[in-house]
């Protein structure tokens, strides 16, 4: 690497704008400028120094903040486009059935919907190009930061107290003029700046007062936080780092928790509660009346179990871990897992009560209740009287293709049907009938499977009542990256606060070697107003040359106006 040797004797890396030590402008551009560009202290950004190979070109591409801003803008615009229509996981159609998704968009949003779907915007945030954009942003953040932080650090470390006059003159805040005792002024100014919590260095008839240099690292700290966050998001994709499962749990049911092996959940009951216009919710009366009804609470009371030490799945050798009331915003947590109340279904059939009735006299011989999740084989109703379940179809198919099919479509009791054998002292042989919910009983002879001969029975079962239970839709999550994401977020916040709420301020005061005048210059990376206030405060007690803010044209005009 060729070095640029400054007149002050300091060797600067190639590409340096301002001498790291004395601040003399080195590049043509810097020499010509009125106010020097103080970004990165005029140091040589490493990216700018090589442009030969393809690797360097790619590197430099990502090192450019302009490129970074473009990536941000593209992400911003595409994200906005993704909100024009609902994403596929937010519509009322199963998101994995392409044909239905396509139909949904066309039906609801016409030709625009079709185009939106065809372009894949219905699942934009998971698309490969969106992920690549986010990845490129990450790369841009890393490369651009690395390329800047190192030279900036070196440059701030190497700065000398005494700067060259050409550097001073090119600062935004600059003043020059004679004072009675320059050395005394420098000393006093040093003391005054110390009182304002500046770090002050005095050497060679020059003073440097510096404050909050650490705020310069803010951007790099917050970028580190962002990268940690993005790494966390990336790790979630690895198998085992992130569990996302769902389960439906009926009241009274105990089930293994998917994704959390060895743990079981039992529902003791689901509660849906609305706000009540009377009583303590009276203050909400108007709002409730306008809305009709407002839900106050969804709650599933659960018991968490786990396999006993050494117990195998299926053995049901369990021990209770805890009881908990899962409500929205208060998930059940255990062993890194969280279980959330997400959905519910009310009133699934759970039991049916029948009476055995003599068709002629309509006398009841007794009642029995069938638990649909665990029906019994035989219900005794008295001496020599019982009802036997020959078969049970939770979701009875009934007639299909003109033929009676004794079968069930699903294991869920959507449409229960039974084949009963009714035995009474008068009919010790038993009569059989097929009872389907909501339909007249079919009196049949099922002795020979397949042929369903209609017969005439003396007895029948009569449906009396149904019991129902509710189902809770629960989501099971485990996210090992959460803490990483949180750490990333915290580091980002520290960095962004560090860079935003503090400013790196520097004031240089030095005696001009030739004229003996005092030169004063000030620089801050942001918040010039406060820097001016600091200097003005010092200038109240210490004789200093007056200065001007050369970016503030109006101020200059007004000051000139005062002179007139």
């Amino acid at each position: 690497m060729s070095k640029i040797k400054c007149q002050c004797g300091h060797e600067n890396p190639e590409g340096t704008q301002l001498c790291e030590a004395c601040g003399r402008p080195l590049s043509e551009e810097a020499k010509k400028s009125d106010i020097v560009d103080m970004r990165y202290e005029g140091s040589a950004r490493r990216s700018k120094t090589y442009t030969t190979s393809i690797v360097d070109k790619v590197w430099n591409f990502f090192s450019s903040v302009t490129v970074g801003v473009w990536i941000i803008v593209i992400l911003l615009v595409t994200s906005a486009i993704g909100t024009l229509l609902p994403q596929r996981f937010n519509i009322d159609v199963p998101p994995n059935i392409e044909a239905q998704v396509a139909e949904y968009y066309e039906k609801h949003y016409g030709i625009f919907g079709k185009v939106y779907y065809t372009l894949g915007l219905d699942n934009m945030y998971s698309s490969w190009w969106f992920k690549i954009l986010v990845g490129m942003l990450g790369v841009s953040i890393i490369i651009a930061s690395v390329d800047r932080v190192v030279p900036l650090y070196k440059s701030l470390k190497r700065q000398r107290t005494r700067r060259h006059a050409s550097f001073m003159k090119r600062q935004r805040l600059f003043g020059a003029g004679p004072v009675d005792d320059p050395d005394e002024s420098i000393e006093q100014a040093g003391e005054a700046f110390k009182k304002l919590k500046y770090n002050v260095k005095i050497e060679n008839d020059a003073m440097l007062a510096e404050k909050n240099r650490f705020s310069r690292w803010g951007p790099y700290v917050n970028h580190t936080g962002l990268i940690i966050f993005l790494v966390g998001v990336l790790l979630r994709g690895l198998p085992g780092w992130y569990v996302d499962e769902a389960m439906w749990l009926r009241e009274g049911e105990r089930k293994s928790i998917p994704g959390a092996q060895g743990y079981y959940l039992e529902s003791k009951g689901f509660t849906l509660e609305n706000y009540d216009v009377e009583g303590e919710d009276k203050v909400f009366e108007d709002a409730i009346e306008r809305a009709g009804s407002v839900v106050k609470n969804y709650q599933t009371d659960v018991v968490l179990y786990k396999d006993k030490e050494g117990a195998l799945p299926g053995s049901e050798d369990l021990e209770k871990v805890k009881e908990y009331e899962i409500v929205v915003n208060k998930p059940l947590t255990f062993d890194g897992y969280s279980i959330f109340q997400m959905e519910y279904r009310l009133d699934e059939l759970s039991g049916m009560t029948f009476a055995l009735v003599n068709k002629g006299s309509t006398d009841s011989l007794g009642e029995f209740t069938i638990d649909l999740t665990a029906p019994e084989r035989k219900y005794e109703l008295g001496e020599g009287t019982y009802v036997q379940i020959l078969d049970y179809f939770p979701d009875f198919i009934g007639t299909r293709n003109g033929k009676m099919e004794l079968d069930t479509a699903t294991p869920v009791p959507n449409n229960p049907a039974f084949i009963f054998k009714l035995v009474t002292p008068e009919t010790p042989e038993g009569e059989t009938s097929l009872v389907e919910i909501g339909k007249p009983a079919l009196e049949i002879d099922v002795t020979d499977k397949g042929t369903l001969d209609i017969v005439e029975n003396d007895y029948q079962v009569k449906f009396l009542a149904a019991d129902t239970h509710d189902m809770s839709g629960l989501t099971i999550r485990k996210d090992k990256t959460l803490y990483l994401l949180l750490v990333g977020g915290i580091i980002f916040m520290i960095g962004v606060a560090q860079g935003s709420y503090w400013q790196h301020r520097r004031v240089w005061i030095q005696k001009d070697e030739k004229t003996g005048e005092l030169l004063l210059a000030g620089h801050t990376n942001k918040n010039w107003f406060s820097l001016r206030k600091d200097i003005d405060e010092v200038a109240e007690t210490v004789p200093l040359p007056s200065y001007e803010d050369r970016a503030d044209q109006e101020d200059k005009k007004e000051k000139k106006g005062d002179d007139n």
């Binding site: 690497m1 490969w128 490129m136 994709g237 665990a374 939770p394 294991p411």
Partner: protein, 181 residues
């Protein structure tokens, strides 16, 4: 001399940059293939998770007790049509292979005793049938569709996972596959 050092340094820097860029590219490409929330899933070659179930006759079956013998582990439901179709074939092959060191265990996923018992009677099945009441075994094997059949060799390793209906010949071949040599 100076030039040489400069060239070396430049070369070194290019290499570092190249490696860094390559790593970034790989990370991004790998991330494209990942879907958060996917479980690892069992695959042939894995050890079959041990479990313990009681069959309809009250006999306890613990997978690890069958070490040294093949296990034909079938997950099914009475409502599932392909399950019903393959049951008679399984029964037939069971008669041949039960003395050849192959066990069949048909695990019904959470149905009522009455329903499963009625089913067994009407299909006249003699191999052991157990009901996975809490779905713990189903979850341990991460079973999605029914029927799914897991073929476990005498060492307790999964040989094959069949997520489909099988015909008689396939059943026979699978049983031969896990038969102790």
């Amino acid at each position: 001399m100076n030039n040489e050092r400069k060239a070396n340094k430049k070369k070194k820097r290019s290499i570092i940059r190249g490696v860094a860029l390559a790593i970034f590219a790989i990370v991004i490409l790998v991330s494209l293939t990942l879907t958060p929330g996917k479980q690892k899933g069992l695959k042939p070659g894995d050890m079959a998770p041990d479990f313990e179930l009681v069959d309809l006759d009250g006999n306890t079956h613990r997978l690890s007790d069958y070490r040294g013998e093949g296990v034909f582990l079938n997950f099914w439901g009475t409502w599932c049509a392909p399950c019903k179709r393959e049951m008679p074939f399984m029964e037939k092959q069971y008669q041949t292979f039960k003395d050849e060191g192959v066990h069949i265990l048909a695990v019904n996923v959470k149905e009522s005793d009455l329903k499963v018992d009625s089913f067994r009677r009407s299909y006249q099945l003699s191999f052991p049938i157990a009901i996975d009441k809490t779905e713990a075994v189903k979850d341990a094997y991460q079973i999605k569709p029914l029927p799914t059949t897991i073929l476990i060799d005498p060492d307790g390793k999964i040989v094959e996972i069949v997520q489909d209906e099988m015909n008689e010949l396939e059943i026979k071949n699978y049983m031969e596959m896990i038969q102790p040599k």
